[in-house]
Symmetry: C2
Subunit: 209 residues, 2 copies
DNA sequence: TACATTTGCAAACGTATGTTTCAAACATCT
DNA sequence: AGATGTTTGAAACATACGTTTGCAAATGTA
């Protein structure tokens, strides 16, 4: 096989284009011509555009869910108490390492995650929460004992504030980086931004009303 | 005039529908039939769909910018040093009061703001930053002396994390509130959530790397 | 009243979209 | 090699969209 499989080429093109322009704004014709693939291939391999969108998410989330599950297994096996910062670092490592430290892809996936939330795409939300609900609630359940001073309501809102900060800033990372004066150089590298983000979240989550 | 002006009815419908479903996902036919107005009225009164989107934003942002400018004038006139919390409270009051404490509209506008960031190909972003750049940089300039321990880069990223937390959580407020067990009652009222959000942001913004 | 301008409306236009069709090319297995 | 099932390709289909048009109704102005 001289070049990648049709299915993968479609997924690659779709992932990049969706992240760049949104779902509704990206036509199947743009995707297929970017992927050098016939228009009908999408409906043949995936069935519909909706199903293609879901497939893009699954291709990214499956390794992430696996990586996260594995790390949670390890961490819990060590029997040590998991602090909030332990958990935050664990999650960010799982996300970053889920695709061979391809930071660009991680960033563009964060954009997709942001789109999935804002762009109503109800089918996606239902599909994802049904498919990855178990891992995510497992993670949240570990958060509770790590923040003993917080009520459940505290924790609920603080985690969503944190999620918002992460999704928003990482999904707009490209645009934000461009706003910084160019001499910021090393300081805007995404690994540093993630460190900043973790510090921000760590401080915020601990707050109770 | 038995009912509201055509222009206002279009703006009302567009604002609600855009917030609910996004820009590309909301057709002019849906807007005009919701507003009980002829299809051609949008292009007649606004010129194009793009211009309608901009008009929706302007109708909300104009009073907000005025209110914010006024409050900043007052605050600076008092010659007292403005703390970070002073500034956060000032901003949240400006946002909430800009439209007669209509919290629902504020929430749905937050959703629009989120959409504008993730979903616009730039025309909206350029238009808004050109039109409201002055007020927003004035506000950010006041933030700097309020956080003397932070470098400019610290402040840049922290404010965007905070913006993300605010936009994300308020724009999804409806969905989030529904996730809480119903006996949370008073604790999920939006004024309380805003207080939580301000506390979260206040703690996070102070963090330096 | 008479005229000019603005607003409202139904229909149509051109275009772009997601999807389907069906025959050709390809691969796989006996 | 031949039969069978899978994948591609070019074209068409049906539909939904933003926009434009032409004319009627309403409104303002003298």
């Amino acid at each position: 096989m001289a070049q990648k499989d049709t299915v993968d080429r479609i997924l690659d093109a779709a992932e990049a284009l969706f992240a760049e322009r949104g779902f509704a704004e990206t036509s199947l014709r743009t995707i297929t011509s970017t992927a050098n693939v016939n228009l009908a291939a999408v409906n043949y391999h995936f069935g519909s555009k909706k199903a293609l969108i879901q497939a893009v998410f699954v291709r990214f989330l499956e390794p992430l869910a696996d990586s996260l599950t594995l790390r949670l297994d390890e961490a819990e096996a060590s029997a040590k108490e998991l602090s909030l910062d332990d958990l935050l670092v664990l999650l960010s490592k799982a996300i970053l390492s889920a695709h061979g430290d391809d930071v660009t892809r991680t960033a563009s996936f964060m954009r997709l995650l942001g789109l999935a939330y804002t762009q109503s795409q109800g089918h996606l939300r239902d599909y994802l929460s049904e498919r990855y609900g178990r891992v995510s609630t497992r993670y949240v359940d570990l958060l509770r004992p790590a923040c003993p001073a917080l009520t459940d309501t505290d924790l609920f809102w603080n985690t969503h504030f944190a999620l918002g900060a992460a999704v928003f800033s990482l999904s707009n990372y490209g645009a934000l980086e461009a706003m910084l004066s160019d001499d910021s150089g090393e300081e805007s590298k995404i690994q540093n931004v993630i460190r900043r983000l973790l510090a921000f979240i760590s401080a915020g989550v601990k707050v109770s009303l």
